[in-house]
């Protein structure tokens, strides 16, 4: 039999070998890759831990508020603290953020008051009344749409010759199957747009497991088709997530174009608070495996070893955060009542006859 023109198996395994998972801190908090240890001061390391603990408390309190009916849509984040907060830690205030709906913790860290995040969740327009210095748009609901928009935003930054400014955006393993995710990466590569794309691979798109999304052995390799760098990183390791994100941002700022980062992470809880029960599609083994890899456990061990963190410090932070969140929820309760006439006024900058007539009609109703 004649030799086949190409060895497919060798081809596939060479692709997989090109996307190894970057790790610095193993699950026991030990440094396994000193060479690429990021240059973070002790204060910065502590700040990163504070943000991750803060996010865990935000998750816990949000779940509780949702149970009490005081939140609307909420996508739990427990387990993804390193993937979310350590990546965000590498960006600057001036960078533009296009979040997915699970990326509320980073949005708050980027400058959205917690009370407004709650209002967004409840479906109140005040939740989107962003402070002028918050460079972000509200969380995207259409999975993948944020990738093409972030690309356009970054093309604009490049056109406007904004120095030291990039765009960053996130989707999930499910989102990686969307055409928009490829289109975003492909356009960004073609325009050399300064954008950092994240696929937070938390194993499940609601209930559909990662292996049913794609035959691709990594999601990072989807970058190759767009001709841009792709990196797979241990998404439970804050130091590795920070290090690869920092490198990606530097690369983009230097004019080299976009980067895709796949964070291997886990959502410990349900997809959302709208009745999802993860035990329907996940074995107990899976929870156990990932909970041992909890980013807070390993980073806590690492910092305690260095004498930078203590149980007492963490307890104080938890109490303080709980109080802040309680206040934010109260503040959200004070938001003014929304009016249909205001919505009509917001539809257009220059409205037509239909809108003008309807404003009159609703204002008359509302003044009764």
């Amino acid at each position: 039999m004649a030799k086949q023109p190409v060895d497919y198996e060798a081809l596939l395994s060479s692709v997989e070998a090109s996307f190894p998972m970057v790790q610095i801190l193993d699950k026991d908090g030990k440094i396994v890759n000193e060479d690429i240890m990021p240059d973070l001061s002790d204060d910065e390391l502590v700040e990163l831990m504070r943000r991750m603990v803060w996010s865990r408390v935000l998750h816990d309190r949000s779940m509780a508020l949702a149970r009490q009916g005081r939140l609307g849509f909420y996508a739990p984040t427990m387990g993804q603290e390193a993937s979310q907060l350590a990546s965000h830690f590498a960006f600057k205030k001036q960078d533009w953020f296009y979040p997915g709906y699970r990326d509320v913790p980073q949005l708050i860290q980027h400058g959205l008051p917690v009370s407004q995040a709650f209002l967004w969740s409840r479906g109140h327009v005040e939740g989107n009344n962003y402070p002028d210095d918050l460079h972000a748009i509200p969380p995207q609901i259409i999975i993948g749409a944020q990738f093409i928009q972030a690309m356009g935003n970054a093309v604009g930054q490049k056109m406007a010759k904004k120095e030291d400014e990039v765009t960053f955006t996130y989707t999930g393993d499910g989102g990686s199957s969307q055409g928009d995710v490829y289109e975003g990466m492909n356009f960004a590569g073609r325009y050399k747009a300064p954008v950092v794309f994240f696929i937070q691979n938390n194993g499940y798109a609601i209930s559909t497991p990662r292996e049913k999304q794609s035959a691709a052995m990594t999601l990072a390799q989807k970058s190759a088709a767009a001709g841009i760098p792709g990196i797979q990183v241990d998404g439970m390791d804050p130091l590795a997530v920070y290090a690869v994100t920092k490198q990606a941002r530097d690369w983009a700022v230097a004019g080299n174009g976009p980067v895709l980062i796949e964070t291997i992470t886990s959502r410990f809880g349900p997809h959302s608070t709208s009745g999802d029960d993860p035990t329907r599609y996940r074995e107990q083994d899976s929870f156990d495996y990932w909970e041992q890899r909890d980013p807070l456990i390993r980073f806590r061990k690492f910092l305690e070893e260095k004498g930078l963190w203590s149980e007492k410090q963490e307890e104080e932070l938890i109490e303080k955060t709980k109080e802040e969140i309680k206040q934010a929820a109260k503040e959200a309760d004070q938001a003014p009542k929304m009016l249909i006439s205001d919505f009509l006024k917001n539809m257009y900058q220059e409205p037509g006859q239909n809108i003008k007539e309807q404003i009159e009609k609703y204002e008359a109703k509302e003044s009764k």
Binding site: G156, M159, D180, N186, N346, Q349
Partner: protein
């Protein structure tokens, strides 16, 4: 004044607006060196460079996302969808994202993007090129949908669309591109969005149309002059928002109305106009409102499109029926 085709008027509007405002960017499939498949962007790549007039990858959704992000960054994107039949690939960007932005952000962030696209039947295109899909757009609050019927309007309306602070879908009927010329002023001017135009005054019946159907309506009106029927033709120019005031005023004068659209009969722009006129001017009507449309099939195979498309003859018949009622 120059004697221009509609495609030349469109190019001139783009050119002059790009010269006036450096924030205006044009992008889409083949709009660069090639000047677009209909040459709407002819010469602009050479004049303004590839940063401002750029060929995108062949992916409509990506083009829509790019327009969104550029508008957030303060640019005035003018994106081209090569044929409007391809709009389904970019529906989320236009209807799900651009249209909702001002509302979603409490009016604090607006999205001044223009979506330009050729559409319309009668030029023997392949499948999925010719459909009249303006009804899909007009049903989406937050968008403005503009359809010029002649070179003069095309230049003035496109200039307004680019300057407008809201997202505008600007639909160019392919049959109008080169079929006739108009006197078009060389200097810049605007034709306001959301305002209908009385294309021809008359006293017996009001015909409301837009896009290419305005031409057919004018032909019908001319034909009927011989029978002493005086037809007023109203060109909507903008199908969202619709200028009911101008339509109702005319119907109150003539007492009769025929609505004409190239699109199929079901749902759509024409039904909206008829419904509003019925509510606002029923007591002025002396006959049921006539409605000339294409039949409710999928856009037909190329060889039969001229049988399928509404024509001056169909309009003439509908007017006669209404007048003789």
């Amino acid at each position: 004044m120059a004697n221009l085709t509609m495609i030349q008027a469109i190019t001139e509007a783009l050119d002059q607006e790009m010269a006036r405002d450096e924030k205006v960017l044009i992008f889409g499939e083949d709009v660069g060196k090639n000047g677009g498949v209909f040459r709407a962007t002819q010469g602009l790549f050479d004049k303004y460079g590839e940063d401002r007039v750029s060929d995108t990858p062949l992916a409509e959704s990506g083009i829509g996302g790019m327009a969104f992000g550029l508008a957030v960054q303060g640019f005035r994107p003018v994106m081209e969808i090569q044929f409007f039949g391809f709009v389904f690939e970019v529906m989320d960007s236009i209807v799900g994202q651009m249209a909702r932005t001002s509302y979603r952000m409490g009016g604090k962030l607006n999205l001044p993007a223009v979506v330009r696209s050729p559409f319309g039947g009668g030029v023997h295109t392949p499948e999925m090129h010719a459909d009249s899909l303006e009804g899909l757009m007009a049903q989406s609050p937050g968008l403005k949908v503009v359809i010029p019927s002649n070179p003069y309007d095309a230049k003035g309306l496109l200039t307004s669309a680019i300057r407008d602070e809201d997202p505008v879908v600007f639909l160019e009927h392919m049959k109008l591109y080169r079929s006739f010329r108009d006197e078009v002023p060389e200097e810049q001017y605007t034709v306001p969005l959301g305002k209908a135009n009385v294309s021809k005054e008359g006293s017996d019946v009001t015909v409301v149309a837009y896009g290419y159907m305005v031409r057919e309506a004018l032909k019908a009106a001319e034909e009927l002059e011989k029978d002493d029927v005086s037809v007023e033709v109203i060109d909507l120019r903008t199908v969202s928002p619709i200028d009911y005031e101008t339509v109702v005023k005319s119907v109150e004068k003539t007492g009769r109305m025929v609505m004409v659209q190239e699109a199929q009969r079901q749902a759509g722009v024409g039904n909206t106009v008829i419904s509003e006129v019925s509510q606002r001017a029923i007591l002025s009507l002396e006959a049921p409102i006539g409605f000339v449309t294409a039949p409710d099939t999928v856009y037909p195979f190329g060889q039969v499109e001229n049988i399928w498309l509404p024509s001056a003859k169909d309009i003439t018949e509908a007017i006669k029926e209404t007048v003789e009622f």
